[in-house]
């Protein structure tokens, strides 16, 4: 039976420690996975937007579908203010989708496996491919970014005065709750993303342990692909909703 300790080990975060010019920089697993996701996204963006033509062909169609989807999503909730926000939400959506579903690639032997195959000892600590958003810190950072976006958007489109006035609307009695909203919203965003992804990851680990063949492939479609995509969409959608509420 898989012991609790083994499961905890899978849920914790190890990683490299780098010493540069006397500074001690710890680099966790989720950061390494995020670097991979970023590299993949950057390379794909460059490949998909090369040789843009007026009449789209081949890969340009795919890029246009994605951009169109993001534009329509932001237009739907932000009205005619959508333009400055669309790139941020597009990036957020792509990053979250890629990082949430990355665990379908965990067939790649990681850490010790690679080190044994290649004989390179520094690869031994290479992390197992797992979604970085199952790390509380990653989810929290994204949620804090979202709430700062809401704050700046409100101040930019309403002015400082209008923003302060919005705390007293519709009735001044709600002031404490309006202030609390700025702390509760990032917390609930964080917990929703991190909780869902961690739960899906844990369940998949248990399934891999219990029935290692056939069954995980079907359940992976739900837990990795569907759940990951849905949570990415919900995160972006709720942020859009908060921004829309702040600037209207």
């Amino acid at each position: 039976m898989m012991s609790g300790e083994e499961l905890m080990h899978k849920m914790q975060f190890k990683g490299y420690d780098i010493n540069v010019f006397g500074f001690h920089i710890p680099i966790s697993d989720s950061i390494i996975i995020m670097w991979i996701v970023m590299a993949v996204l950057i390379v794909l963006s460059i490949i998909f937007t090369r040789n843009l033509r007026l009449v789209p062909t081949g890969k340009q169609n795919v890029a246009e579908v994605i951009v169109e989807f993001v534009n329509n999503l932001t237009k739907g909730s932000l009205g005619h203010y959508w333009k400055p926000f669309a790139p941020y939400f597009g990036t957020l959506l792509l990053f979250l989708v890629f990082s949430n579903i990355i665990s379908i690639f965990n067939i790649i032997p990681s850490g010790k496996g690679i080190a044994e195959l290649t004989g390179l000892s520094f690869l031994e600590h290479f992390p197992e491919i797992a979604p970085p958003t199952k790390d509380f810190n990653v989810a929290a950072a994204l949620a804090v970014m979202s709430i700062f976006l809401v704050l700046f958007a409100a101040i930019k489109y309403k002015g400082v005065k209008g923003w302060l006035k919005s705390f007293l609307e519709p009735i001044p009695v709600l002031l404490p709750f309006k202030i609390l909203e700025y702390f509760i919203r990032p917390m609930s965003l964080t917990l929703r993303l991190f909780g869902n992804i961690l739960a899906a990851f844990t369940i998949m680990e248990l399934i891999y342990f219990a029935v290692p063949i056939v069954v995980p492939s079907f359940l992976s479609i739900y837990f990795d692909l569907f759940d990951g995509g849905l949570q990415a969409y919900i995160f972006v959608f709720l942020t859009l909703l908060y921004v829309g509420e702040a600037i209207e």
């Binding site: 609790g4 905890m8 917990l191 909780g195 961690l198 739960a199 919900i234 959608f237």
Partner: protein
């Protein structure tokens, strides 16, 4: 360790919050479907509201899971 069984039982009780969230999500989704089939032109607005409600309902289950994980680390 002492009291491991009690902690495990408490963790399993915390996960029972999923029950409420499940019922809530099922109810909200059925109502949203009903509303859309009655008034298909309002589908966009209903979907927005339904998704917000679902996300908020689901939060209770996530909090239960969080408590369970926190208890789990004590074992």
């Amino acid at each position: 360790m002492e009291g491991t069984g009690v902690i495990a039982f408490a963790a399993s009780l915390a996960v029972l919050t999923g029950l409420g969230a499940g019922i809530g999500i099922a109810y909200a989704t059925s109502k949203a479907t009903e509303a859309i089939s009655r008034q298909p032109e309002a589908a966009g607005k209903i979907t927005t509201l339904a998704l917000t409600g679902l996300a908020l309902t689901e939060a209770t289950a996530i909090y239960g899971l969080l408590i369970a994980i926190l208890l789990f680390t004590k074992i």
